[in-house]
């Protein structure tokens, strides 16, 4: 009889202890952790980096012009495609599809534009090195706008408003009939520079996570408890700790804007995407790159481009995406291969060998519960979509 009672007591004790552990609130943040939390805080976002290649980058008039161009469907082969066809403002400038869809199908997933002014590289493979040079590519991409530079220049020349705005920003338009290639390219580049001035204003907004960090910074325990559940706190702790996520997803935009191979599976019916190893070669030969004649950077500093890494290590590497607003950026990864956050986390937990190159992430061995907590945390990065700044007080 005694042994039975003992056994029951033991089972009870184990049950109670595990229940308590289960419910354990996370311990208070250490100073080191608070430093990391602050580094992820939107308040810590540095001032916009200068864009020496774009003389009108910070001109409100150019931003307004750029915004009109961004939504203008006339800059396309069939008159129905604009940048906003794929980069939809209400979806945080993405489209919810695996791959961009316009005149044809893009090669990759449509990324958000938010915060890209902070990145030295554009595109998943970083094949452009400025917002302005990037904006030119979709216009001539046969599966996106499928138009060409001459037609774009003609549109600017023929639309009276555009012409006036253009000339007030950049000086007289060349006469089309006589314009040589560099003259056409200059106008084309200026179109990109105006669109970039608009894109530069698109920044993320404050999320619940940012309010939580504010409460942590203030030492306001009550506010912390109101803002984050225990699961979300545990999830955050995994994010900056055992999950190793901040190795790549760091800083207030949750990205280091660098290239990594994370072993994502190939897209159905395609060979694995080679990513950065090809992107850097394309960038080095792009006529609109930082070192090209259409850049306004008189000093041609171009440190990023000059010191850019090349080589086999970049096989299958892609630029780390921001993790803010994952609620709008699904499906995930460079070809939209993974549909849900839960599936992304399962992928990281296993960290399988990459099909090409080497997966830099290590298997995590997190439990199902820890993965749910991590997911709960990632969802706290959701935030309202920013209003389009150029429209404020605009026409």
């Amino acid at each position: 009889m005694k042994t039975v009672i003992n056994a029951v007591a033991a089972v009870l004790a184990v049950a109670v202890i595990s229940f308590m552990l289960w419910r354990t609130p996370p311990p208070a943040w250490t100073d080191a952790e608070i430093t990391v939390l602050r580094s992820l805080w939107l308040e810590s976002l540095s001032a916009l980096p200068a864009a020496p290649g774009n003389a009108v980058a910070d001109s409100p008039a150019a931003a307004l012009f750029g915004q009109k161009l961004f939504f203008d469907t006339r800059m396309s082969a069939n008159g129905s495609i604009s940048c906003a066809t794929c980069h939809q403002p209400e979806r945080r400038f993405t489209d919810g599809l695996q791959k961009g869809q316009a005149i044809g199908t893009s090669k990759r997933n449509t990324p958000s534009i938010v915060g890209t002014a902070h990145s030295p590289w554009l595109y998943w493979d970083g094949r452009r090195d400025s917002q302005w040079s990037q904006a030119l590519s979709p216009l001539e991409d046969s599966s996106e706008h499928a138009t060409d530079r001459t037609r774009v220049v003609r549109l600017i020349a023929q639309d009276e408003n555009y012409r006036a705005t253009y000339e007030s920003l950049f000086g007289a338009l060349p006469e089309l009939a006589k314009a040589d290639e560099p003259a056409v390219n200059t106008v084309f580049a200026n179109v990109g520079k105006s669109i970039a001035a608009f894109e530069r204003t698109i920044m993320p907004t404050t999320s619940r996570f940012d309010r939580f960090v504010a409460a942590v910074a203030d030492g306001d325990v009550e506010a912390q408890a109101l803002l984050f559940t225990d699961d979300e706190k545990w999830g955050l702790r995994i994010f900056i700790g055992a999950g190793n996520c901040t190795q790549c997803h760091n800083g207030p935009l949750f990205t280091n804007n660098e290239f990594h191979n994370t072993g994502v599976i190939s897209f159905s019916g395609e060979v694995p995407d080679k990513g950065r190893v090809v992107g850097i070669k394309q960038l080095l030969t792009n006529e609109f790159n930082c070192l090209g004649q259409y850049s306004d950077d008189a000093n041609q500093q171009c440190a990023e481009l000059i010191f850019a890494r090349t080589g086999v290590e970049l096989i299958g590497a892609f630029r780390t995406p921001s993790l803010r607003n994952l609620e709008h950026t699904a499906p995930f990864m460079h070809k939209g291969q993974i549909a849900t956050i839960a599936a992304v986390l399962r992928h990281y937990n296993e960290a399988p060998d990459a099909m090409i190159g080497h997966n830099e992430a290590q298997p995590l061995g997190l439990s199902a519960r820890e993965l749910r907590q991590l997911e709960a945390f990632l969802k706290t990065l959701a935030a309202p979509v920013a209003r389009l700044p150029a429209m404020i007080g605009g026409d």
């Binding site: 030295p120 901040t246 190795q247 790549c248 760091n250 800083g251 280091n256 804007n257 660098e258 290239f259 072993g263 599976i265 190939s266 159905s268 019916g269 395609e270 060979v271 694995p272 080679k274 190893v277 090809v278 440190a303 990023e304 000059i306 010191f307 850019a308 890494r309 090349t310 086999v312 290590e313 096989i315 399988p352 060998d353 990459a354 099909m355 090409i356 190159g357 080497h358 830099e360």
Partner: protein
């Protein structure tokens, strides 16, 4: 100890057997962890995936089902990246199955009609990939050829494989038998015992093993210190360093040729940039531009210094 050496010995024997079969006909060889294709003397890491069915699982030759299959060759020999590579898959019409060789394939009269997949020669500087969706199971032969653009010489490899692969057949048995026979022979002849009884031989083996370990790269004859504009290296920011170099006796080192690499050894990757010395500032100072760290964690900066008196490597370890 003896047992370890014995194992080494057996592994050597087994790999010798494998190497011999590989040399006999350029083809695909399963080298334990690594599956290698030999196009004559050119080697590449070879793997096949069926991503829709088995995800990230790698196959060396035989494939479980008829499905979308991705063939990958990661060059172990640089010259493959400068040669146009041609890839063909044919139904096995040689009747030789697993023993089909290049000669057998060359003797096929109408190779086109047997072909199920053909990728014309193409230069792939980084990694070679092709995709083919098998519609039926059966025996196939893969033919990879690479042409040296300078000499015009063509190198080829042939690898028979099965789609809808049901088992390993008698191959492991065959190899196992060979190994057993070999050990049996050695043991019978008393050679094994004689070999290992001489402890001097064992010592020699251990010494050789130790010699094979990578040599230490740390050299103490230069002292390298660095400074950065903001006091400490920053994350995600392009910045420059000043390297200061002194020799053992504390004299500054001038006129050195310096080459800088580095990376995160724990993550098996290098620096995100290609930094280099842009200016010698005098007094043992050198300006190092293009430094950027894109991850927090442990980094090593490897400074290779060449002076008139010799070469040396100094590693700067730092946590960011």
């Amino acid at each position: 100890m003896h047992r370890v050496v014995l194992h080494c010995f057996i592994i050597c024997l087994v790999s010798l057997i494998f190497l011999q079969t590989a040399q006999a006909h350029g083809g695909v060889v399963d080298e334990g962890d690594l599956c290698v294709i030999k196009v004559n003397y050119l080697r590449a890491h070879f793997k096949i995936y069926q991503p829709r069915v088995t995800g990230h699982e790698q196959f060396c030759e035989d494939l479980p089902v008829a499905s979308e299959s991705v063939f990958v060759m990661e060059y172990l020999h640089d010259s493959l990246s400068t040669m146009p590579i041609e890839f063909r898959i044919i139904r096995d019409v040689t009747g030789k199955g697993r023993f089909a060789r290049l000669e057998d394939v060359e003797n096929i009269d109408d190779i086109e009609s047997a072909t199920v997949f053909y990728q014309p020669p193409i230069l792939e500087p980084d990694v070679y990939t092709v995709i083919h969706e098998f519609v039926e199971e059966g025996d196939f032969i893969g033919i990879v050829s690479a042409r040296n653009l300078e000499t015009g010489k063509v190198y080829a490899a042939v690898f028979p494989f099965e789609v809808g692969f049901t088992g390993w057949g008698y191959w492991p048995l065959f190899v196992g038998l060979l190994v057993l026979l070999q050990i049996q022979y050695l043991a019978m002849s008393g050679r094994l015992r004689r070999w290992f009884s001489k402890s001097s031989t064992t010592m020699a083996a251990v010494a050789i093993c130790l010699l094979l370990l990578p040599p230490a790269t740390f050299a103490a004859d230069f002292v390298v210190t660095y400074s950065t504009p903001s006091g400490k290296p920053q994350i995600n920011r392009m910045h420059s360093w000043i390297l200061h170099i002194e020799n053992e006796s504390g004299a500054v080192v001038e006129g050195a040729i310096i080459d800088v690499t580095g990376g995160m050894p724990e993550h098996n990757h290098g620096l995100p940039t290609k930094p280099r010395i842009t200016q010698e500032l005098g007094g043992g100072d050198y300006k190092l531009e293009g430094m950027r760290f894109h991850m927090s964690g442990y980094w090593e900066i490897v400074v290779n210094i060449t002076t008139e008196t010799g070469k040396s490597t100094v590693i700067i370890a730092l946590r960011i």
